[in-house]
Amino acid sequence: MDWNVISRNLDFLCGGLFLTFQLAVISMVGGFLLGIILGMGRLSSRKWIFVPTTLYVNLFRSLPLILVIFWFYFLAPFLIGRSLGDFLSVIIAFVAFEAAYFAEIVRGGIQSISKGQMEAGYSVGLRYHQIMLHIVLPQALRNMVPPIVTQCVIIFQDTSLAYVIGLKEFLRRVSITDLREFRSVELYLFAAVVYLFLCSLGAALSSRLERRRSTGAPWFGGRSKGKTLLMAP
């Protein structure tokens, strides 16, 4: 065992971690924005909105992410005649893919709001987009927060797949370092600990928010009322 290999290459590895964060944040924001539109489209009563959005969501949810990454990698040169570059093609793939998952979260969140809210909005003379913007979405977002945080943790892990087309994010840099130093055990275990630590933080945040949401307590500060975790029969 030679753990010095980590400190020797720390700069190089941290650069990768930075790129991983960049990838993750852009995919989260982009995916979520596209996901809201798709999720609302899936609840539309207009067929020409409902059918394409449903097709989109089901299509992307039935493909492995790795294949979607290849898709955009191969498709870009075909459509625009030149390569988009690794970073951009991976970003597009991530946003397109994660949007399908966010769409399902958004749909679930909106469906969790009772229909009466909608009707009440109409009865005081608001338009559809006003009701959505001022009444339904703010409440729905509150219900959506825990699954969104969970999804963000998943996205953070998914960015490691950029490895396959050679983008030098964290995992790729770990394996490059391994090729140079022949220290698989130390390097891969170090990577595992880094991911484990960061993702556990996210998971803990998500379950905290979930507990708060189900008791109706404020998200930060204050005490939640009563026990909520169900035990087995």
Binding site: F74, Y188, L230, M231
Partner: protein, 240 residues
């Protein structure tokens, strides 16, 4: 849309067709084997998490945290690159000599144990969603604990758990694509291989996508048929 001549024959021409077909079969048996392992381990861990015993709950919790918070790709690397190095020398030699297809074996183990952590969460949620009145009613009619579980609670829990299990199996099936990174020639791996031999990536990726979509569709249709068959009157949760 210039400079690209579609040549769909790469999908069935002599060496490539066989590669792709083998890939499809590999995807199917890899994900089924991993799913079997995931069911056994996942149900065990899921039950561990709800037993009235601190130790088992801690073990179950740690298992789920560990396997869910490390990217699957990295888990594959650890199983394939790191684990053999950690074994004592004779075991290493035995492993490399006697196991015919180490990448495949490690993919099954890696994918199976990862999926098990997700299955465990579903099992826990399914058990938690059984109303406790069910058990009380069963024991009030004089059933023993075993019989209460066998005839009342399990039939109910299994029906609740079918839809999330279907989703988890499909996730497992899609995740099997990651096995290509450690050299298993499953569908995605085969399509990538054909691309690097022929430069016809668009055709092979299309073919691979169609394979995934059609298998997913078959599984969904089959499972919704099963769900309808086992549905009992008065049970909530099934949206028509």
């Amino acid at each position: 849309m210039l400079n690209y001549n579609f040549d769909w024959s790469v999908l069935w021409r002599k060496p490539y067709g066989e590669l792709l077909l083998n890939g499809i079969f590999t995807t199917i048996h890899l994900s089924l084997l991993a799913w079997g392992l995931a069911l056994v381990v996942g149900v065990l861990v899921g039950v561990f998490r709800v037993l009235p015993n601190r130790l088992t709950r801690f073990v179950g919790f740690s298992y789920v945290q560990l396997f869910r918070n490390i990217p699957l790709l990295l888990q594959f690397f650890i199983w394939y690159f790191v684990l053999p190095l950690l074994l004592p020398r004779p075991a290493q030699i035995w492993l490399y000599r006697n196991v015919p297809d180490l990448p495949y074996l490690m993919s099954v183990v890696g994918l199976g144990l990862y999926t098990a952590s997700r299955v465990a969460e579903q099992v826990r949620a399914g058990l938690a969603s059984c109303p406790s009145g069910l058990y009380e009613a069963a024991s009030a009619t004089g059933l023993s604990t075993f019989h209460a579980y066998r005839y009342v609670i399990l039939p109910y829990a299994v029906r609740i758990i079918i839809p999330p299990f279907t989703a988890e199996f499909l996730t497992c099936f899609k995740n099997s694509a990651l096995a290509m990174t450690i050299g298993v020639m499953e569908t995605t791996g085969a399509s990538y291989q054909i691309d690097s031999l022929t430069y016809h990536g668009l055709e092979t990726t299309t073919a691979a996508s169609l394979v995934y979509i059609s298998i997913t569709l078959c599984v969904v249709l089959f499972m919704s048929w099963i769900e309808k068959r086992v549905w009992v009157h008065g049970m909530i949760g099934r949206r028509s």
